[in-house]
Subunit: 468 residues, 2 copies
């Protein structure tokens, strides 16, 4: 206990002198968190040597000297598997690193020379150190924040409303299993477990199908809680506020109260601890979004992503009366939102990619600006998998991409145009957009920095001011 | 918090009236924990009907009415997967249930009629209820208790001493990797992680080879801690008490201090919480031992099992000055020790099986008796996989077993004689003992109780007094 306190005080002092920064990376699954963090560490380690970081002021000015990994502070949080990720990229053929499955952490010490300061514009001679704590956690965990505003009854009602036709189809087996369950029946442990497992299967199937607005988030990555009653609840279809009094009067061992207790336990012992122990200590945050993937998957999935992002972004609504501020007093003071996999479209589409991202997140971005939290939207490719080319056809030149598809075929193609705004019905009818997934490019030499697009711009925004 | 307190008070009251009992089942991996717990639940659910429980007084007297599963109290502990286990046994061909991987829990309500009481020998008319909380946890976790007596230096010394020739051979890769690591070097995160992974691989290989005395136990079942620094330490060969002063004087970021910190964190945040939150609340305990498996595996493995059991049993040494009593004030008041898989030898060998078990655990049993904790040794088969037969050869009759081997072959065989005492060298030279693994017997009808040997004797000892 005393040790923890001493550590906290040291941390506070370090941060007070701008010597320590806690940067968190999140995104829904397959948004590209592992690739982003791998490349970020890789670029900083190669800073001053092979890394191309011209969009980072301190690298451009030759003041960024390098970085090394040091021991992290929280011994119970898995270390971000950087070496395993690099090994995957160095296989023949190269492959994308395995995704991480929960929170992970990595600490870097960055050496740099402070820039010109003060009235005389003197260059400080000595080098300085910034300790950068990196965190990576599933965006799905943030989807559980709104769950804290609900009790079991209102949450059940909300989940019913979220069942669009396609989601309803994926939930068919669960809906059938739950149809005969009445709130007043005596709870049968085994039956509830079986129905909960079907509900979890529904969520998994929805994720497979490209849906993103899935609650409770921990059902998708249960870890050590697999099989525990706290992960064995589900919304009860057909109940609503109108029945509240009658439901509350049911016996303690009824289905209704049993599921309510589990829901409350999930709020207290699964959702809140993440915010309390991790989230409220982050200084900076980047949210990664696979806009292109959603564009590929069709209108219902795109709509779903939009809803999921609106939910996810609520964790960054720092208005004084917002849920997250009231409960956890977080302190994130700068945010980046990035459309990843920009290398999967031709370069002249990148501007549209950013405007589309901004359109997708229009409301959350307005809220953040109103709350005076600096936020920047950008597009990037953490690890570039394609090369940009031009092809000539009938005397005209067209932009194209060259890369190796996941199936192992060399391809030269034009994936399509990215709409600059939320697509209208006619865009989906034209089906103007299909892109392949590409393998990572083989690296020329193992020592090389990873190729990227605008990762340096993201870095400049997220940590550049601390390297001034 | 208030809710927890209220729950604790209710529990205390229930227990005061002998209405609630917390029974824990443990054993090293493959000792048969899942089969035992599955059969126990199955027998009690069939009590009064098909189950054969003649060695249980209250069943013999017709007072045991039945049992049903009810909701467990700790929502964050996985439920024991009884239905999944029964489903495995009902497959064609039947298969053994999947092993559990951590702690799990299941609550039964047992209905019984109290027996004759008081001076008049009146039979109480009403039925009564005993709430039985069942817990299942890996015996490997108990092997970590002695770790609490050590600091990193003395633990390192102790682990070196445990490297017998065969263990040393299995550890060859790790020993090579750790050979160049000096305690005073600056800790390199990635290097320590790589060496720790090799150490964990060594432990896994040793377990595969039949060894049981393996520390730290959680390296074998890391769960959500996989990849966390708290599971990335290992003993440093070649250091010992003689160097203590010099080692302590090393810099904080040295290999020595980094590993020491992780070792201490493991003690505080991995080992102790299990004892504090679970172990000290158990009322009764059964320890399952696969004596026959060790007998099969040869002298070094048998010796290792003996050492592991001595370590494991230390958690039940309730002398006032014992480690576990000082730290956790546990309250287990009755203990059973059972040699499992008794159906894998012919019935006339069962007596020897018990005396061998008692010989193997002679010292722990003496300690328990000295501390006045009732302990009983027995042999049993939780789910019988063979039928006992006689074969005639040259006019004489021999006992034999009939069953289906794991390879699917019908077999009729005599597995050998179980020594009544710790085997001497000549037993191993004669290699007098080899037994096959058998598949579970197909059940005649799905509703049937599982066939067993003396599971009822274990039950009578463990809970019989509460059903009086």
């Amino acid at each position: 206990m005393r040790q923890t306190l001493a550590r906290e005080v040291t941390n506070l002092l370090e941060r007070g002198r701008d010597r320590q920064l806690r940067l968190a990376v999140t995104g829904l699954s397959r948004a590209g968190k592992t690739a982003f963090l791998t490349s970020l560490v890789n670029q900083l380690r190669h800073a001053g040597l092979e890394a191309r970081l011209d969009l980072m002021a301190c690298a451009r000015e030759g003041r960024l000297l390098g970085a090394r990994r040091v021991a992290q502070q929280d011994l119970a949080v898995p270390r971000f598997p950087y070496d395993e990720a690099m090994a995957a990229l160095d296989e023949t053929p190269p492959r994308w690193p395995d995704p991480t499955r929960g929170i992970s952490e990595l600490r870097l010490q960055i050496r740099y020379r402070p820039g010109r300061h003060g009235l005389l514009g003197m260059v400080a001679a000595d080098s300085a150190t910034l300790t950068l704590d990196l965190f990576d956690y599933p965006g799905e965990w943030l989807l559980d924040l709104p769950l804290l505003e609900h009790d079991f009854l209102s949450w059940s009602e909300r989940q019913q409303a979220a069942l669009t036709p396609a989601r309803r189809e994926l939930a068919a087996e669960w809906l059938e299993a739950v149809a005969d369950l009445t709130p007043d029946a005596a709870a049968d442990e085994a039956e509830l477990a079986a129905i909960a497992e079907r509900y979890a299967a529904t969520l998994r199937a929805a994720r497979e199908a490209g849906f993103a607005d899935l609650q409770p988030g921990r059902f998708l990555l249960p870890g050590d809680l697999a099989g525990a009653p706290v992960l064995q609840f589900f919304p009860l279809p057909g109940i609503g506020e109108a029945d509240r009094q009658a439901l509350e009067a049911l016996p303690e061992d009824s289905v209704y109260h049993t599921l309510s207790r589990r829901f409350a336990h999930y709020q207290q012992h699964v959702v809140k601890p993440f915010y309390r122990e991790h989230f409220r200590r982050f200084d900076r945050q980047i949210v990664l979004v696979d806009v292109l993937g959603a564009l590929n998957a069709g209108p219902e999935r795109f709509e779903d992503l939009s809803r999921a992002l609106a939910t996810l972004m609520r964790s960054f609504h720092y208005g004084k009366r917002s849920l997250v501020s009231r409960l956890f007093a977080p302190r994130i003071d700068r945010l980046a939102i990035a459309a990843t996999k920009a290398d999967h479209v031709t370069p002249e589409q990148h501007t549209n990619l950013v405007t589309l991202l901004e359109a997708l997140l229009a409301e959350p971005i307005q809220d953040l600006r109103f709350a005076d939290i600096p936020v920047k939207a950008l597009s990037l490719a953490s690890i570039r998998a394609t090369q940009s080319r031009e092809v000539e056809r009938q005397g005209r030149r067209f932009p194209a991409l060259r890369g190796t598809t996941q199936a192992g075929e060399e391809a030269l193609l034009f994936p399509g145009e990215v709409p600059a705004q939320i697509p209208e019905a006619d865009f989906w009818q034209r089906q103007g957009f299909t892109f392949d997934h590409f393998r990572p490019l083989p690296r020329d030499a193992r020592g090389d920095a990873l190729p990227h697009i605008r990762l340096d711009a993201a870095l400049d925004w997220l940590i550049g001011d601390k390297l001034a």
